[in-house]
Amino acid sequence: MLKQYFKNIKNASTSIFEGLAVTLSYMVRKPITIQYPDRIEKPLPEMLPPTFRGILEVDTGICTVCMACMKRCPLDTIYIESERDPETRKNYLTRFDIDVARCMVCGLCTEVCPTGAIRHSTEFDAVTSDVINLVMRYVQPGDKIPAYKVSKEEEPPGVPQNEPYCRLKKQWDAPAPLQPDEVRGAVRWKKQTSKQEGR
């Protein structure tokens, strides 16, 4: 009984001592905080591994208009329209919209793409004043982009393995105009230039 009493006192004091020593030791260790967004060496998308599943981006130049991604998406995030020229019997891509606000970045669409036209960028901070601005429009209204044909001899371009991949920026720097009825936010989301300059 009395032994237990003094044992409790001893346990309490030694364990508190050990705990204090641990917290004290962290006073002189390096914190692991990354001071996103302004106090980092380079923009965070460039620090992420190439496997990172960020916002979807599309290279319409190599899109075969197979619509596999549209069918695969569990959330109907992707909307593709195509047009067949009756004379030349060629396929044209007339619309390729991705609702980034609805996308859950599961990555299923990129896996079915035969050419790697749709893929994840390492961008993730799609901050905007209006959620409509997050509808990414990869084909300008009225444009017709000929569908890419996979040739037997040539390998499809595919995703360059293990290489940071941020072609999306270009899309955002020169955003496609929205339809008049869709324009609700004043400015479509633009990447802040100050962030790239760094501080």
């Binding site: 050990e18 992420l48 496997t51 695969r72 970045v105 599961c106 990555g107 079915v112």
Partner: protein, 377 residues
């Protein structure tokens, strides 16, 4: 039973709502407590605040399209949702998973178990008033999260597994990175123990609190660390072996040899701490023995399994996670039932809760490691 008790209360008791906006309920869970002074007379766990009808979604989605949803069942142990569901569909389809993919799955799952238990132990210490251990846990978890980005591309909702394998092969050098993390982690755990586990206040807060006897644990269908802490030597990985777990050596941690009682909150906490060690051991074995080969078997893009039903279970971080899948021969499941252990853990509260104090309740609740979305699905 508990609801009745709450409604026929006498004048001496107070009813308080613990949650859904309460700091210690870890998500949107409501516990109605009937208090006499600070002692709890009855507990009424009120679930359903986070119900997203995931089982119904499964009936409307193609088989492959449902994989990302399994992340959302238990967001802290997303790998296990992936694994259980993929195993169920693979069983239906009769797909053989390549050995390399199996190893990669095991590595991912066990890393996931480590980081989940880090969070569980951290939040538990936070419930008891110590904030620092929680952030130390989070810090180590962050390292795994960074690796998870390389393994599968996401930090929380992994969506890593596919029917017949995994979605991505390893980046070069990733296995070395995992081993380096394990080296650090094995040194980190003793420090974590010095900081909080051995702390006398912490120990005294947990000893003999919320004791779940062996029989009760079995009757309520508890799983995982909660079940093993009560002295039931059961682990799906060992007793119903799946994947390549039989090829590795690991111990099933059970309560009973810790200070205090078998099945008290401290035992549950310590089982988690020791399971992290076992998981690190498993990951090390798997990384060192990682075979070469395919990481994804050839499976149809939109698989249509034959008619039939199948049940597959995995040892999730919170215990047995089962997927009961009925196929009617179309490309969408006819019915999917997910069996989760958090729900069982919530159901044991009215039985164990009375007699605890309010402060014990947070300790007990923390030690059960309930995750709200897994309760409601």
């Amino acid at each position: 039973m508990s609801r009745m008790a709450v409604e026929t209360l006498d004048n001496e008791s107070t009813i308080v709502n613990m949650g859904p906006q309460h700091p210690s309920t870890h998500g949107v869970i409501n516990l109605r407590l009937q208090l006499k002074g600070e002692v709890i007379e009855a507990v009424d766990p009120n679930v359903g605040f986070l119900h997203r009808s995931i089982e119904k979604i499964a009936e409307l989605t193609q088989y492959t399209g449902f994989i990302p949803y399994t992340d959302r069942i238990d967001y802290l142990g997303a790998m296990f949702g992936n694994m259980g569901y993929c195993m169920a569909v693979e069983k239906l389809l009769g797909v053989e998973v390549p050995r390399r993919a199996q190893y990669m799955r095991v590595i991912a799952c066990e890393l996931n178990r480590i980081i989940n238990h880090l969070i569980a132990c951290g939040t538990m210490s936070m419930d008891l008033g110590a904030f620092t251990p929680f952030l130390h846990g989070i810090r180590e978890r962050e390292k795994v999260n960074d690796m998870m980005e390389k393994i599968c591309g996401a930090r929380l909702n992994y969506n890593y597994m596919r029917f017949g394998g995994v979605s991505l092969d390893y980046m070069p050098g990733l296995d070395k990175e995992i081993l380096a993390f394990l080296d650090r982690f094995e040194r980190f755990l003793p420090e974590f123990n010095r900081l909080i586990t051995g702390n006398e206040i912490f120990v005294q807060r947990l000893l003999h609190v919320g004791v779940i006897p062996k029989e009760t644990a079995i009757h309520y269908g508890l799983g995982g660390p909660n079940l093993r802490a009560s002295g039931v030597d059961f682990d799906v990985r060992r007793d119903y072996p799946y994947s390549v777990y039989p090829e590795f050596s690991f111990d099933v941690v059970t309560g009973g040899h810790y200070p205090g009682e078998c099945g008290d909150s401290y035992a549950r906490y310590m089982v988690r701490i020791d399971e992290m060690r076992q998981s690190a051991r498993l990951v090390r074995q798997a990384v060192e023995g990682l075979p070469e080969g395919e990481y994804l078997a050839k499976v149809a893009r939109n698989p249509v399994p034959p008619k039939g039903e199948v049940y597959s279970k995995v040892e999730s971080v919170r215990g047995e996670m089962g997927f009961y899948l009925v196929s009617d021969g179309t490309d969408k499941p006819y019915r999917l039932k997910v069996r989760t252990s958090s729900f069982c853990a919530m159901s044991v509260m009215p039985e164990i809760g009375p007699g605890l104090m309010v402060a014990d309740m947070t300790a007990f609740f923390g030690s059960l490691d309930v995750v709200a979305p897994e309760v409601d699905r």
